[in-house]
């Protein structure tokens, strides 16, 4: 069995906390004690709604925005203890692809220049840079002959292929994919997803796949972590999460996701309340308490920790759902 490639331990990312202007947000923990392990060769899916901290987590674990506390081990080495140069050497093995390729590609640089930049920073020589950019472009289905072109000459899907090529040119072991297809049309999404599946096999990559789209994550991932307000509330193998979701929030997500199969949506005026019932939430209690259907008094004062509910299926809930009880 393959070992861990990435270990994240009690990661915290806090914003604000000093200065006059930031007082209102002081102590806001966008990521609040997140731990998980990604096995080499797996696709690890991180799913959550906007504002849950998934992108902040991605940036913190890559030390693009260093974490406030906690540890990240990449192939056994703690990234926090590395010098800047040491970190650069490691980071080439852990690349990130963002949602918006327009933000990731400099419009004034040719594709070749964009791809060569990172390699030049690593001290790769010119001839080698040319060879590796051409190889990477070919891998993603862009003709290397088009490398002199500029980003605006490509479609959205092609641009995303190019940002993937740039990540690949660094010879990564781990790719962090942050909503890589969310900006693309349906017919183009499938092309990129198939490309990612192919590349993973060909290059023996590991993926950390971040998305709000539960259908997509369930399709791609070997393991899934569900994130809510800066915490992982449930983590397990994809079959575990799909067939017996334990956390009420996971169940709610599943019930909300539009599907090609299934029933018509039932009309109803009232929402379940975005803010929920705030009287149920206590300072030290569960952060899902206000919206939870299984709330009781204990949830107001006890902050549930992620624990093994059996078979390596982790959940942070005082009264997790049982499969026979329904949602």
């Amino acid at each position: 069995m393959a070992g861990p490639i990435l270990e994240v331990r009690n990661l915290v990312k806090q914003f604000g906390g000093s200065g006059l202007m930031s007082r209102a947000r002081a102590g806001l923990k966008a990521v609040d004690g997140v731990s998980f392990t990604v096995t080499a060769g797996d696709t690890f899916g991180l799913v959550g709604e906007s504002g849950c901290g998934k992108t902040t987590l991605a940036r913190a674990l890559l030390y693009l925005d260093p974490p406030t506390a906690g540890e990240v081990l990449f192939q056994g080495t703690a990234l926090g203890g590395l010098s800047r140069a040491g970190l650069r050497g490691f980071r080439r093995h852990m690349q990130i692809v963002f949602q918006d390729p327009n933000g990731a590609l400099d419009p004034k640089m040719s594709i070749r220049a964009s791809l060569a930049e990172g390699l030049a920073n690593l001290g790769v020589r010119r001839e080698e840079r040319r060879r590796r950019t051409a190889e990477a472009l070919e891998l993603v289905g862009i003709q290397p002959a088009h490398a002199e072109r500029y980003p605006h000459e490509f479609s959205g899907g092609q641009k995303q292929r190019i940002t993937i090529a740039r990540a690949l040119s660094m010879d990564p072991r781990l790719l962090v994919l942050d909503e890589p297809v969310s900006n693309l049309d349906v017919s183009i999404q499938a092309q990129i997803i198939n490309l990612l599946l192919d590349l993973k096999n060909r290059l023996a990559l590991t993926y950390l796949f971040i998305s709000h789209d539960l259908n997509l994550v369930a399709y791609l991932a070997d393991r899934i972590a569900v994130m809510f307000r800066g915490r992982i509330v449930e983590l397990g193998s994809t079959p575990q999460i799909l067939s017996e979701p334990l956390h009420p929030y996971t169940r709610r997500l599943f019930a909300s996701v539009p599907r090609l199969t299934g029933e018509r949506i039932v009309p109803r005026i009232e929402g379940d309340g975005e803010a929920g019932d705030s009287s149920r939430a206590g300072a030290g209690g569960c952060r899902y308490a206000a919206r939870c259907g299984r709330w009781d008094l204990a949830c107001q004062t006890n902050d549930p920790v992620l624990h093994d509910a059996g078979g390596g299926h982790l959940v942070a809930c005082l009264q997790p759902e049982k499969n026979d009880q329904g949602g």
């Binding site: 709604e49 349906v186 198939n194 599946l197 791609l220 949506i265 803010a275």
Partner: protein, 341 residues
């Protein structure tokens, strides 16, 4: 089959570029919305789905756009060529509208209540006091209890879901018979999305209005529609009941779209991707616009534009699409040379 509320026939719209180039954004749209139905118009970006809605609302920027041909009948009124004053009376009164990003359409400097009151005074001729009462009722209707407090807030003080509810309240304030909803839940998280969809369906029932729901998301459309029309390159390529289109899609484009959506049940298999990209409106391929991406395309597809024909009849023999769906009952239209071959 209920009476036809909105009937778009052979609508052609072109845009003139700054360099004088001409692009055909809509190439003969045919679309019927029956009274009370949720009719979804599904397509990718640039397909002309929003543009179709914009034409119905009479908000097409002319120039650079130009309606070249076609007809849009709403109840007994022909909308094309209707004077702007008449258009304005329909819009917001008989026809409501909701968009993807409510913050764009709400005035950020004005309390939510004032905006609703203003619309009610303008469209229904209520006094300000009457309008204020009605505004509170409307907010309750869209699931914002304690509406009075919400009325005093500014748009930025509301969450995204609440803003969309306010937008919907304004859209239905004049009791429209048709609501045009253009990607109204695309910017929302899935849990909120479902709540807004449920609200729209409930309002449809209570107010007896039809909804033209414009979306790129087939899974959403599956959950809410009675009828679905699929648009590609400014032309309807398939139109039928939700049951027919999802169970037996006729057009290769619809089939490919459905096969390209990731689902947990397809784990471990490759998705069936559609090769290539959506063509630009200034370079629409000849013949069937989908032919360069179609796995089944033959010579005829490259040369001859397929007509939208009805395959709902026995044995799948095509017949002319009826001028009025209400006369023929069930129809399943497709524009493809290869259906049934």
């Amino acid at each position: 089959m209920a009476e036809t509320l909105l009937s778009i026939k052979d609508l052609w719209v072109s845009f003139r570029g700054r360099d004088g180039s001409q692009s055909r954004a809509l190439r003969g749209i045919d679309l019927d919305v029956a009274r009370g139905e949720v009719h979804s118009l599904v397509g990718e970006s640039g397909s002309g789905k929003t543009l179709t809605a914009v034409c119905v609302l009479g908000l097409l920027p002319v120039p650079p756009a130009r309606i070249e041909a076609g007809s849009i009948r709403f109840q007994a009124t022909e909308l094309i060529g209707l004077p702007e004053a008449e258009r304005r009376k329909l819009r917001g009164r008989r026809i409501g509208m909701v968009f993807q990003e409510p913050s764009k359409y709400l005035n950020p400097a004005m309390r939510v209540g004032e905006q609703i009151v203003e619309a009610l005074v303008l469209h229904l001729g209520l006094t300000r006091n009457e309008a204020r009462l009605r505004a509170g009722e409307l907010l309750e209707l869209v699931g914002l209890p304690g509406g009075r407090r919400v009325l005093r807030r500014y748009p930025h003080e509301l969450s995204g879901g609440m803003r969309q509810r306010v937008m919907i309240a304004m859209a239905v304030s004049c009791d429209p018979v048709l609501l045009i909803a253009d990607e109204p839940t695309t910017a929302l998280d899935v849990t909120l999305q479902r709540q807004i969809l449920r609200l729209l369906l409930e309002l449809r029932e209570r107010l007896g209005m039809a909804i033209l729901f414009v979306s790129h998301d087939l899974a959403v459309v599956h959950g809410i529609s009675e009828r679905i029309s699929v648009i590609y390159c400014g032309k309807i390529v398939e139109s039928g009941s939700r049951e027919r289109v999802f169970a037996r899609p006729l057009h290769p484009y619809t089939q490919a779209l459905l096969a390209s959506i990731p689902q947990a049940s397809r784990r471990g298999t490759r998705l069936r991707a559609i090769p290539g990209t959506v063509p630009d409106a200034s370079h629409v391929p000849a013949g069937c616009a989908f032919h360069p991406r179609c796995p089944l395309a033959v010579e005829r597809c490259r040369e001859e534009v397929p007509r939208l024909l009805d395959y709902a009849g026995n044995g799948g023999t095509p017949r002319e699409a009826a001028a009025d769906r209400s006369e023929t009952g069930e129809t399943h239209l497709a524009a493809c040379h290869l259906v049934g071959t």
